[in-house]
Symmetry: C2
Subunit: 320 residues, 2 copies
């Protein structure tokens, strides 16, 4: 069975291999995504972000229970920042999700966030497409931390869950990173810790600015994932929010916006590949750096000149 058929048959090894191809930017991945494309568009993509230690993994674990209970197949992609120290993904607390390891209706995968910010978001998007084609109904995109990479990764989801916990200045961090803006549902996890009620008030206060017409659309749910408290409320809020965004057209708008972002990302990557082949950026960069370091060239003029040369050469080639 080839990879394409394997993914459509929801063969876990085929799905895993397809995601690895995406992660490694293998040339085969693009053709595969294009072939799978007509089979996508059914899965619901839920981004889960929040500070490290806020309990995102446990919360997702509990939500998997609810999704499975409702008969839906679930996939989780955990996006981890890669560190020059370790060179790979930090799996850590993902291990907790092992409770679902033997359930064929659950697929869990960690992806290292190598490369550029845009590259990470693109790889995540393509991985979701594979899972979508494979028939997973709900795909959770869980991030490790809550910075601009994470915002970029989850902002293209159908729905974003922001997980906060009392203390540790989480709320300030979240606001700084611009995460408050992208959250659709706010979870205050570890609700038994001191400061949970104050945090709730703060979140509601910030949300009141987001909807200046008065009243906030975004539910704030108090939960304790470890004790399985508040999860049914959260699942219900998720369902309501989803129904609402289907009804008012915002889900469709969001998906169109996502497609646009993805297109721009592909365009940008393709152009870079071309430039690398034709202007031989990697090969010539050393010489250009030398000229600039010695102030024998000027940066913008140099680039302008190289682009003109590239367009001439490539244009001729495309003509013949």
């Amino acid at each position: 069975m080839d990879l394409y058929a394997g993914v459509l048959a929801a063969e876990p090894r085929a799905v895993g291999r397809a995601i690895s191809l995406i992660e490694n930017r293998d040339a085969q991945a693009e053709a595969l995504i294009d072939r799978l494309y007509p089979h996508t568009g059914k899965a619901l993509m839920i981004g889960v972000t929040g500070s490290p230690g806020a309990g995102k993994s446990t919360l997702v674990d509990r939500l998997i229970d609810r999704e499975r209970g409702a008969g839906r197949k679930v996939a989780v992609i955990a996006v981890d920042p890669s560190s020059p120290f370790t060179g790979g993904a930090i799996l850590g607390d993902r291990l907790r999700m092992q409770s679902h390891a033997t359930d064929p209706g659950v697929f869990i995968r960690s992806m290292a966030s190598r490369g550029s910010l845009g590259g990470v978001a693109a790889a995540t998007g393509d991985a979701v497409r594979v899972l979508d084609a494979a028939g997973y109904d709900t795909v959770f995109i869980e991030t490790i931390g809550v910075g601009q990479t994470e915002v970029r990764v989850v902002e293209l989801s159908d729905l974003v869950l922001l997980v906060l916990m009392p203390g540790a200045g989480d709320e300030i961090q979240a606001m700084k990173a611009g995460v408050m803006e992208i959250g659709d549902i706010f979870v205050i996890n570890k609700k038994d810790l001191p400061g949970a009620d104050r945090l709730r008030l703060e979140v509601e206060y910030v949300l009141s600015f987001k909807n200046p017409q008065g009243g906030s659309d975004e539910p704030v749910v108090m939960a304790s994932a470890v004790n399985d408290q508040g999860i049914d409320e959260l699942a219900a809020a998720l369902g309501r929010r989803l129904a609402q965004s289907r009804a008012d057209g915002s889900l469709e708008r969001r998906r169109r916006f996502r497609i646009g972002r993805e297109l721009e990302g592909i365009l940008s990557r393709k152009i870079h590949e071309l430039l690398d082949v034709h202007v031989e950026v990697s090969k010539q960069l050393g010489g250009w750096i030398e000229e600039l370091y010695r102030k024998e060239a000027r940066p913008y003029a140099l680039v302008e000149q190289q682009i003109e040369r590239f367009l001439k050469d490539r244009g001729k080639e495309a003509d013949t």
Copy 2:
């Protein structure tokens, strides 16, 4: 006096206007940077990053005192994340630096980090070039937080100061964001708070992995910026580190690397501008999204096709 002459004459208003042009991606900015380029290369660029609240502004304020005491002209660029809420830079505690407001040897400027990650780093780099040409000896690039944007902005500095404070899980956040890797000097500020010594041990432990050949090159300085304690030690460590990086060639290597990154950035932006004019991305995107949303097209194939068309058209044009 035109802007070029004004910058070279260190006219504060000309310098400020030049930086505004850069910030707004004004077409004039590129020509100005190219003209100023031969006059750059003298300033020392010091990145200062760390979690919000770690006391970076106060620390920079104290370091300005030392630089001025040594007869050097100093500029500070505070890079702030912009928020969809406020739409601008959070100036907040920058105000503390007002103590230097009347000193003509000090230039302080806040830049909002609008746009892409790469765009922010590029704008910061160009702003440094203006300040360099204007004769500022030391340019501090101070970030608000400590995420991937911040890493990207300061990693191109000649020297990076990472400011940590006890408590609040700063060290974990910093390690997650990959900041530990780019730090040259580590400052544990608010050293009188409980946990400062433990944090120092943790930082030294992490640094021991960075230099597996044993022993850490990176100084860890205990400070209390508010009480002006540890600042002379920090200034001395900065001086030593700088002398060392000049001697062992690492400063030169770093600057060449920076030029390379900047070139790649310019190349990428120019190509995007071209594409926007010739493939009319902004104009056509809506139609493409529609086709993809209806599954009537496939993303990678669509982009490939557009690029071929663009190259043919532009190539012909460049030929004539």
